[in-house]
């Protein structure tokens, strides 16, 4: 259980001079499953990217805290696990190699047992030494989840988590989300009703214009 918190203060984003959203406020702590919903174009992906520290907001602040210590942007990446349809992994390497490389670049230990556990959970264990180039889109999506979970981050951000997945894949994801939501902050950005049903709190982004 972490005493991690994410707080946004009057978050606004403009692209050029066009307003995407304005004065978004929330305060999410410790654990739980939080949703961000809105029609296409409302800025869901943009908002989660800001939370993940990938984009800077135009005004306002997003503050990540571990207990009471604020985390600086340069160190944020190891506290976040991120999955989205536009995330691409290195296709010239195998799944196993990809995960190993990521651990090294992150500067965290590569826990073989944990990785094998996840590979099995996500039904990829028998393909772990195959190049990602040979994976189907559903397999790639599942691998992305492993990428997000591997380093035990305090925050999990899933943008459209069930895209590209069949019913079986979706079930695995929902199980993981429910389980992780008991120990960490899980943020889901989606339009799917079934995805949002898991959330205890939902932010309706189109209200923030």
């Amino acid at each position: 259980m972490s005493s991690y918190s994410i707080q946004s203060q009057n978050l606004s984003k403009l692209f050029g001079r066009r307003l995407i959203f304005k004065d978004v406020n929330f305060n999410w702590t410790e654990k739980g499953i939080f949703g961000i919903s809105g029609p296409n174009g409302s800025g869901k992906s943009t908002l989660v990217k800001i939370v993940a520290g990938l984009i800077a907001p135009s005004s306002g602040k997003i503050i990540h805290k571990n207990s009471t210590v604020e985390i600086i942007p340069e160190k944020l990446h190891n506290h976040i696990g991120f999955v989205s349809p536009y995330l691409v992994l290195y296709e010239e390497f195998s799944a196993w190699e990809n995960l190993k490389i990521f651990a090294k670049i992150r500067g965290v230990d590569f826990n073989e047992e944990k990785v094998i556990y996840y590979l099995t959970q996500f039904l990829l264990e028998n393909r772990k030494n195959d190049l990602v180039k040979t994976y189907s889109s559903g397999m790639k999506q599942r691998l992305k989840f492993i990428f997000a979970l591997m380093h035990s981050p305090e925050v999990l951000i899933f943008d459209e988590p069930t895209s590209n997945l069949d019913e079986e894949g979706k079930k695995v994801v929902y199980d993981i989300v429910r389980e992780e939501g008991k120990h960490r902050i899980v943020i889901i950005a989606s339009n799917e009703i079934k995805d949002l049903e898991l959330c205890s709190e939902i932010l309706l982004l189109e209200k923030f214009k």
Binding site: F15, R17, R18, G38, G43, S45
Partner: protein, 240 residues
């Protein structure tokens, strides 16, 4: 409005005086210029060449400063100011290069001889060219502003090197460089008072002209940008 008329008269006077006033051995009348060894008849270019070169530098500095401010504030207005300065900088740079080359033909016999100062101004021309090429290849205005700001700053950092390496790498023909025993008319004030007057009036006139054009330039960029946004319908926005 009044000051625009004033500016017009000033620049008109400077242009006419600069070209028409004769250069004589011993200036007696107020409108006569002295004979400067090494420059002689060509001296008149000083009224146009030096101000344009001076403004190229000013424009470059301003472009860099506003680029820096954009990176700090992410306010697109700063980018408009930087861009306006760069546009004018390019124009004045071309003018300075051309007036310089014309003078060079008369003084040294050829338009271009890779004299250190010539090479430096050419390098600045390349930087501006690169900056505009970069800007035109980026659609997103945030990205465009950020990347051109970064490039401006990198370019700014390399420019001082020219001031240092040039005198060593190449011997200079340009007035005021290491080889020139006359040490440049501006520094030595070999100009008489009426010549100095015209020179400084020219400098002031061109500088005011530059700032005026710069203001009009950046404001029109900003207005055009805002108009474009209002008139265009918001199509489906960014992927949500």
């Amino acid at each position: 409005m009044i000051w625009k008329i004033f500016l017009f008269l000033l620049l008109a006077f400077v242009s006419i005086a600069g070209i028409a006033f004769p250069i004589v051995e011993k200036p007696s009348a107020w409108y006569e210029f002295p004979f400067i060894p090494g420059l002689e008849e060509n001296a008149k270019i000083i009224f146009f060449h030096v101000p344009t070169a001076w403004l190229t530098v000013i424009a470059f500095l301003m472009s860099t400063v506003f680029s820096f401010r954009y990176l700090r504030t992410k306010n697109l207005d700063e980018d408009a100011k930087a861009h306006s300065a760069a546009q004018l900088g390019m124009i004045f740079c071309i003018l300075a290069t051309v007036t310089g080359a014309v003078w060079a033909k008369f003084a040294w016999g050829q338009f271009w001889s890779w004299d250190p100062r010539q090479t430096s101004i050419f390098a600045i021309l390349l930087i501006y060219g690169a900056l505009f090429a970069l800007r035109s290849s980026i659609e997103s205005e945030d990205k465009r502003a950020t990347l051109s700001a970064v490039y401006s700053l990198i370019a700014f950092v390399t420019v001082p090197f020219f001031i240092f390496i040039m005198p060593r790498i190449m011997k200079g023909l340009h007035p005021g460089s290491a080889d020139d025993t006359n040490a440049g008319p501006v520094i030595d004030f070999k100009m008489n008072s009426s010549m100095q007057l015209i020179f400084f009036l020219s400098l002031i006139g061109f500088t005011i002209l530059y700032f005026w054009m710069w203001r009009v330039g950046y404001k029109s960029i900003i207005i055009k940008d805002k108009l474009d946004k209002k008139i265009m319908n918001p199509i489906t926005g960014q992927g949500g």
